[in-house]
Amino acid sequence: MRSSRCSAARPRQPRRSELATSLDRGSAVSGSAATPTKSSAPSRLTAWLRDAAPPALVFIGFIALWQIACTFFNVPRFLLPSPYDIAEAWWENQPGLTNSLISTFLAALAGFAGAIVVGMSVALLMSQSKLIERCIFPYAVLLQTIPIVAIAPLIVIWLGAGAPAVIAISFLISLFPIITNTTAGLLSTDHNLVAMFELYNASWWQRMVKLKFPAALPYIMTGLRISSGLAVIGAIVGEFIAGIGGRGGGIGFVITEAAGRLRMPYLFAAALTSSLLGIAIFIMVSYASARFLRHWHESAVRREL
């Protein structure tokens, strides 16, 4: 968890030279490059099968092996439940798990949204001047290095157990990648484009909205992808410490409870549900990222050779 939080990965900027070389440079015949003719494009279904089939087969094989091993060696349920036991526990506790899932999802979403708003505002502020950056950045790093588990009890004391504390922890844990990536993005605008905006007398607002922000989008999307996963982890960790039981109890609470009572199949079911939640949020952010960048950024462009 800790290491992934630190990796404020920087996306590759589309370097001009790379773009240039990949294109037919001589041809200036209008229209020829813009509308590539599609020849025998594979159907959507075949493409989907080709993408989804290999991991699905691995999954099925793994589950089968697990089930066989549990049955064959007669592994006790409280040590390692078989996939069948887990599925059964999941099915029996279906309404409760769904409620927990919704509650954790909402907490993670709230924390993530807060981190986006605050993180991007801080980044915007830091990108305005070197001095401001120097003033704020060390504290952003400090925030990042304090183990969240160490300050969680403090948050519970301040905000009380329950949703606000869970959201606060999710927020804190997902804030840093957004700050660093957005700042890096806002500071790495192509200087020729900056000069051009100056030449056409762009206002500060125009420069931010029409140039800096769109140019930073690939970086921002990388930050969001890292943070989205962290927000879910943050919400679950928050529920470990500050979660409350009953109907509003999230996945984190379910996990602590199931572990306490040694209800292993239930514990596994809850853990799997929480990872599904993380995957769902990750897919949502990736989808948004692909939509925003598909036309122009190397990371999202489908290249035909």
Binding site: R25, M196, Y200, P214
Partner: protein, 276 residues
């Protein structure tokens, strides 16, 4: 010098005492680290002229062009653009366009979006903007790729988008910083011809930075030859070739003579630089 325009128009001939569009007077540039980039640069550019700056790389010709555009401070002397300091001229007159070393397009915008940027920044409404942009794109022959993204275009096409963007801004003065440097020779020659056609059409005054002597001779009415750093103007070469300049002019003996003269001057500039 009176220059016959391809469309039959005559460019306004600079009356000797008329006010030049650009007046550069003993301009120098010293960077904060003490490097002297430019020294004692003086020349005028009159309306309708096509002036090229030719010099070895690193001689400060791009820096000079940027200073004319009001980018970066001038450390000695002064530049007047339409009678005003560059930055003020840019803000008050808003009729200078700059074409950069490469097409300098925003990859996240379509061709249309890129070309309409100058108008958008001026706060011109969408419908009016579209009409001007379509006209500019038709002029450069790109009217059918308005929805394409820059990465889908060839280098030559991207450069034309860049020209259309300058055209849409309706400038009087066009500053070009090695615009065709990254293109292959065939595309470069074709775009050279296109540029001359646009100049005649839009009545641009152009200051053109290049290190390609053939290109400079083909395009210019005057060539200013610069020395290696610190950049100085060592000679001014008029190009007495007639307009319109057809591609075949490149084999004209007069063309060759001017090329040889500029090349010789550049050679001597490089030698003095090596001696220092």
């Amino acid at each position: 010098m009176v220059v016959a325009r391809p469309d039959g128009m005559r460019s306004p001939s600079p009356v000797p005492d008329s006010e030049p569009l650009i007046a550069i007077d003993r301009v120098g540039k010293t960077y904060a680290n003490g490097t002297v980039a430019l020294e004692e640069i003086s020349f005028d550019v009159h309306e309708g002229q096509f002036v090229s700056l030719v010099g070895p790389s690193g001689c400060g010709k791009s820096t000079l062009l940027r200073m004319v555009a009001g980018l970066g401070p001038i450390t000695a002397g002064k530049i007047l653009v339409e009678g005003l300091p560059p930055r003020r001229a840019r803000q008050e007159k808003a009729d200078t366009a700059f074409v950069f070393q490469d097409a300098n397009l925003m990859p996240w915008r379509t061709v249309m979006g890129n070309v309409e940027l100058p108008l958008e920044l001026r706060g011109i409404g969408k419908t009016e903007r579209r009409a001007t942009v379509m006209q500019a794109l038709e002029t450069v022959g790109l009217a059918d790729v308005t929805k394409a993204y820059p990465r889908e275009l060839s280098g030559g096409m991207r450069m034309r988008v860049s020209l259309a963007r300058a055209l849409a801004a309706h400038p009087r003065l066009l500053l070009m910083d090695e615009p065709f440097g990254a293109l292959d020779e065939i595309t470069r020659q074709r775009l050279n011809g296109e540029l001359l056609r646009l100049c005649a059409l839009a009545n641009w005054t152009v200051v053109f930075v290049t290190h390609n002597v053939f290109e400079a001779v083909y395009l210019s009415t005057r060539i200013l030859v610069m020395s290696a750093r610190p950049g100085r103007i060592i000679a001014e070469v008029p190009v007495p070739l007639p307009h319109p300049r057809v591609p075949e002019i490149r084999t004209d003996p007069e063309f060759t003579r001017v090329v040889r003269e500029v090349v010789t001057l550049l050679g001597s500039a490089a030698e003095t630089a090596e001696e220092e």
